[in-house]
Structures are given as C-alpha cells and as structure tokens.
C-alpha cells in the first residue's frame, strides 16, 4: 500500500502560481517587491482507503533579481467533522506532507467513500501564496474503500488502428486549408484543438488563420474570425455555442464564446494560470487550470458552482464529477455523485504513461480513457492507447498514432463526439486530418 501511495505522491504534484485565481474581479497577487513565491503541490484526486497519502509540496521562491529565497509551507487538512490539522515546514523540493490520518477519517465508520479538505500556503517575507487562493473553498481529494485494479493488456506499438478521415486539409492559406507557422528554428505551429458536434461537423481552431472553422463533409461551412493564441482549446455546447480557452496577457486565462450567428465575445477572464482544457456541460463551461489543477466554472455561462469553488473532478451532467489521475503506470478513474465516489477503478498498464488525453464515462458505469503510453527500450516508441473499461473488465483496447507534426494543446487532440465516435486530430508534413474511430455504441 505504501509503495502505491509513494507512487501517488511522486507522480502527482502541481504548481500553484502565487496568483492562482482571481475572484470577483480581484487579482490576488502574492508578488512582493523583492520577489514572489509559487506553490507546486501533489493533487491526490482519488486514493484508496488504507493507502499512505503523501502530498509533495514544492514552493518556489525567487527574488526579482532571480535568486532563491527561503519560504515556509503550511498544510491544513481535515475530514468529516474533525477539525483541521496543520503542519508547517521549510520549503524544499523534497518536502512532502503525510495526510494519511485525514484520509482515514474520511472513511471512518461504514462509509464506503469520503473526502478530505485541504489547503496549502507558503510565506516568504512579504510574499505569500495559497492553494486555493485566499477566500476560496478548500480543495478536496476523495477516498474510496473499493478501487479495483484492472490490468490493461499491451498492444504492440506497430499495431496502431487507422481511423477514417472525416476532415483533411492541406497546409496553406484559404478556406479549405489549415494555417501553419514555420519559424526559423522553432517547432511548427498549427491548429491547436477541435471539437465535434452532434451532426458530425468539425470545429477547428485554426490559430494561424485566426479563425474558428466549421467543416461539414470535409468542406468549410462557416468561419468566425478569432484572434487565437497557440495552445487554445475548444468545447462545444449541445446548443452549438463554442467556448474557447486561451492564455491571455500577464499569465491570465482568456475565455471566448462564439454562438452561431453572432460575433465572438469574451465571456470572462476571472482565472489565471496555465490553461489546461475547457469542457461544456449543457450551456455551462468549465476550465481546467494549472497549477491549481482543478476545474473552475466560467462566469457568464450557466455554470452553477460558485465562481470561487474549484472542483478536482471534471463536471458532468447531473452535478456529477469525473475523477481522473495518472500515477506512474496507473490511471485511476471514478465518478462523484452526491459527494460519494462511484465506479472507482484503477487501470494498471505495463508501459509508462504520459498524458491522459481523454477520459469519459460510457453511460453504463464504465469509462473510455485514452492515455499516452511510451517506452525507452529496446527502442523508443510511443502511442495513444484507448481503453474501454467496465467494472473489473477491459472491454476493448487499441492503439492510436501519437505523432504530430505540430504540437497540440494538452487534452485537445482527442474527443468523443455526441454521436459516440472517437475523433483524433492528426498533423503531418502534408496537413491536418481529423479521423474517426468506431468504438461501439455510436448513435
């Protein structure tokens, strides 16, 4: 158990900039005249009851001249009716807090699952940072008694499945081309993300042509001018509204709404940090922001959660949340319903894992997940592996290509469309393709 928890700690730490989230229009700055402090922390997300829970916290303090400065880190944690416990220590890259006691409290009695509330602060003279930001609701991690481990079969790297192209655009300028920037010594930059609507139309963020292009049967049917930053992400609502997430100025996050027949409109800019992903639930939009490593509701949409309340799980319809976390060679998934964890599962891979590119419930208590698998030896190789798991059984698994000519934004290269198909954005020296894989259950 301890070994697993150790992996959990080693593999799940996030960075919290001093200026993590601005709430109610206020910018929470922790920069002092002589520098600033930033917090990196382990986000346990989902742990198994009885595991040792170690949360690594890495507070980075730097002066304005680029020198290190000492900081003190304080962890607060509590579960159930128990009051918060607190511990402090000098910041160092190897600092870890043991929250096993709080995790045990979370599942005391007959509870099959529970959660731990926690917050972290770092103080370095006049500079201060906290996670979550001041006045924000504490972050949570969930504890479940049952997290069955399911072994995922290897698929040979050479055996990648080929999808059917639903969109194919050569590089270039024009309506039925995709823009690309080829810098002198820089990596090429192309479309960063896409989404698919219920009619199978592809919404492509063509950053280098500054547009959101809508393609049907491989042809452009609508284009909305949009100033797009690299690494932008997109999510479609069932009503056809597109929400676009991008990095803004000064480390802030920009959010733009594009409704059919209207001009693009900035919805909100009430968060800061590294933009991760954006997803829509009905008419509501939620953004995953790093290093907070949590989902925030987008003000101005129909998101119901209070703006200052981050959720560690991705919001789903019906007030549920999808928990997902990569731990070494393990991927944990679960669904939060009414504060309780349901259908928790741990997928155990034989290969090393990179990014979790996609995770989604399958509407029958199971999940689809697509994760980047890789190896160093005997020859380096990598691919995306799609896994459909239900209960304690892997229903199906196959490999998808991972090579991209232009890098895409995190969690933006794969989507499950409303029609049930699995879609992937692929780039090559020739252009862009969006391909579809049949995964069963399509409507």
């Amino acid at each position: 158990m301890t070994v697993v928890a150790g992996v959990v700690v080693a593999c799940c730490v996030a960075t919290i900039w001093g200026v993590a989230v601005a709430q109610a229009g206020q910018s929470l700055t922790t920069a002092a005249a002589d520098g600033r402090v930033r917090i990196f922390y382990t986000a346990p997300i989902l742990v198994r009851a009885g595991e040792r829970v170690l949360v690594a916290v890495d507070a980075v303090c730097a002066t304005a001249r680029g020198g290190p400065c000492p900081a003190v880190v304080t962890m607060h944690a509590g579960a159930g009716r128990r009051s918060y416990h607190t511990a402090s220590a000098a910041a160092s890259p190897g600092l870890r807090f043991d929250l096993s006691a709080a995790a045990a409290d979370a599942v005391s009695g007959r509870a099959t699952s529970g959660f731990v509330r926690f917050s972290i602060e770092a103080n370095a003279g006049a500079a201060r940072a906290s996670v979550p930001p001041d006045n924000g609701a504490p972050l949570l991690f969930y504890v479940a008694r049952s997290v069955p481990a399911v072994k995922v079969p290897d698929v040979p790297f050479a055996r990648e499945r080929r999808g059917r192209a639903v969109l194919s655009l050569p590089w270039g300028n024009g309506p039925n081309r995709a823009g690309i920037a080829l810098g002198g010594g820089d990596p090429p930059v192309g479309p960063s993300a896409f989404d698919v609507d219920g009619a199978g139309r592809v919404f492509l963020l063509d950053t280098e042509q500054s547009r959101l292009g809508v393609f049907s049967a491989g042809r452009l049917v609508r284009s909305t001018p949009l100033a797009l930053a690299p690494r932008s992400d997109i999510a479609l609502s069932p009503g056809g509204t597109a929400f676009v997430l991008a990095r803004g100025a000064d480390g802030r996050v920009d959010l733009t709404r594009v409704s059919p027949g209207t001009a693009a409109q900035t919805v909100s800019a009430d968060a800061a940090g590294i933009p991760g992903a954006i997803r829509a639930v009905g008419g509501a939009a939620y953004v995953h922001v790093f290093p907070l490593d949590a989902w925030l509701p987008v003000a101005g949409t129909s998101a119901t959660r209070a703006p200052e309340a981050p959720s560690v799980g991705r919001p789903l319809p019906g007030g549920r949340e999808l928990l997902s976390v990569v731990r070494g060679r393990r991927l944990r998934l679960g669904t939060v319903v009414g504060g309780r964890v349901r259908h928790a599962v741990e997928l155990v891979f034989r290969r090393a894992l990179g990014e979790l590119a996609l995770a989604a419930p399958d509407r029958a208590g199971g999940y689809w997940a697509v994760v980047h698998v890789w190896r160093d030896r005997p020859r380096p190789a990598d691919a995306f592996q799609a896994v459909h798991v239900r209960g304690r059984r892997v229903v199906s698994t196959f490999l998808l290509p991972s090579d991209g000519y232009t890098p895409d934004a995190p969690q933006s290269a794969l989507r499950i469309g409303p029609n049930g198909g699995l879609y992937q954005l692929l780039t090559s020296a020739d252009g862009v393709r969006v391909v579809r894989y049949r995964i069963g259950g399509e409507r």
Binding site: A10, C11, C12, V13, A14, T15, F40, Y41, T42, A43, I45, A56, D58, V60, C61, A62, G66, G67, P68, C69, M75, A77, A87, S92, P93, G94, L95, R96, F97, D98, L99, A102, A181, G183, G184, G185, D186, P187, V189, A229, P230, R231, A249, D250, I274, F290, D293, V312, V326, G328, A352, L353, G354, E355, H372, W374, D376, D382, S402, P410
Partner: protein
C-alpha cells in the same frame, strides 16, 4: 561643377539624415540589453530555477537571450526583430550558466539583460557529445530525471520546472516556445514523446551544499494530524 557640388550636397544631407534616423531602427535588445556576466564556481538547481523564474511571462526571440522582469512580452507580434526574450536553447544556456566557448565546462552567470544566446542549438542538446558540458540521459523515467533537467528534440528544448506532476500526466516545463506564446511554464508531454531525449547539465552542486546529510537530498515528510 555646380551640378557636382549640388549632387555632393544632396548626398551629404541624405547621409546625415540616415545617420540621424538610425535610432529609429534600433531594436529592443540594442536599446535595453546592457547586462553583464561573470564567472562563477558552482550552480545549484535551486539557483537555476529561481533564475529561470524571472524569464517566465517574458517574450520570445529566435536567437535571443535578453529579457527584463516586467512579466510581459515587450515586443509582441514582432518575430526575428531583435525583440525581448530568449529562444528555447538560449533560455537553457543562460539558466544552466554555460560558458560561451563551445564545449567548455564550468559556469558563467549572465544578467537577464545580457543579450547572449550561446553556441548551442536545441539539436546540440538533443545529440550531446561526450565533450559537451551536458549529456543525454539513458532513460526518461521520473526516477532518472529531476527538476532543471531538460527534454530536447531536434528543434526544441524545455527544462523540467518541478518534480511536481500535473494530475493528468505530463510535466511542468519552463520553455521559450515561440513568439506568440513567449516564455512560459507549460504542461508538456515531452517525456512520453520519442522525439525528445532527457538531457542533464554536468557538474551540478547539490541543493543541500555545503551541509548535506549523509545521503544527500532525501525527501522530507511532515505528518499532518
């Protein structure tokens, strides 16, 4: 003769005009980058990360290596124009305090406003030879790497920002990516990408120096509750 004098006069005035107009062609770097450098005897990863943190939110300039500390790109949308910011390999060169002479070991500290890129491209880091002051690591696992190591491909390099890891996998990486994105800490999946190799600077001084415990930097665990 009169025409010749007139011609010489016109040309002379034009030349003077050009000379006066020169400041209008000055680049951002030529106007701002007046920093110095000096040799140092050692470098800790903690020091290197603090140094790189000043570059975060600044600009990007291909072949560049100079930035101020105002947390914004002072030359947005102006690629290859002597603008603000390092490029990917320039950021690593200055952060790792590499010496400007190709292949020389040792350390040299550069002010952030020193416009220096160094002799190494991303490909140099990706395909490190034994005589260079950095080396490719045999493995890219989390056990094999630590913060301020780098991931390099043939056309890009970024440094691991922390041993911390985002919940969805990947790494926090500090990198000068391109003119549109500037210099940032991003979540990247370079570790899993076969185009990238892990690279380590040689001769780091342990963070715990000069009072290291017997086994160096062991994790320190603090119990809560």
């Amino acid at each position: 003769m009169k025409h010749r004098v007139l011609t010489i006069g016109i040309v002379g005035i034009a030349l003077i005009g050009v000379a006066w107009a020169r400041p209008g062609f000055a680049t951002w770097s030529s106007a701002h980058c007046n920093g110095g450098s000096h040799p140092v005897s050692a470098l800790k990863r903690l020091d290197a990360r603090a140094y790189a943190s000043v570059a975060v939110h600044e600009g990007y300039e291909w072949g560049g290596g100079c930035w101020n500390n105002d947390n914004r790109d002072d030359t947005p949308g102006a690629p290859d124009s002597g603008g603000e910011g390092p490029d990917c390999s320039g950021l690593v060169f200055k952060t790792w305090e590499l010496r400007p002479e190709y292949g020389q070991r040792g350390f040299r500290w550069y002010a952030n406003l020193t416009d220096v890129h160094g002799p190494y491209s991303a490909a140099s880091f990706h395909s490190a030879t034994p005589q260079l002051p950095f080396r490719d690591l045999a493995a890219k696992t989390r056990y094999a790497t630590t913060y301020m190591d780098a991931f390099a491909s043939l056309d890009h390099i970024g440094m691991i920002w922390s041993n911390a890891i985002p919940s969805q996998g990947g790494d926090y990486v500090v990198e000068a990516y391109d003119d549109a994105d500037g210099t940032q800490v991003n979540v990247e999946d370079y570790r899993a990408d076969t185009a990238y190799r892990a690279v380590r600077r040689k001769d780091w001084t342990p963070d715990c120096a000069p009072r290291c415990p017997g086994r160096g930097l062991a994790p320190r665990t603090v119990v809560v509750g």
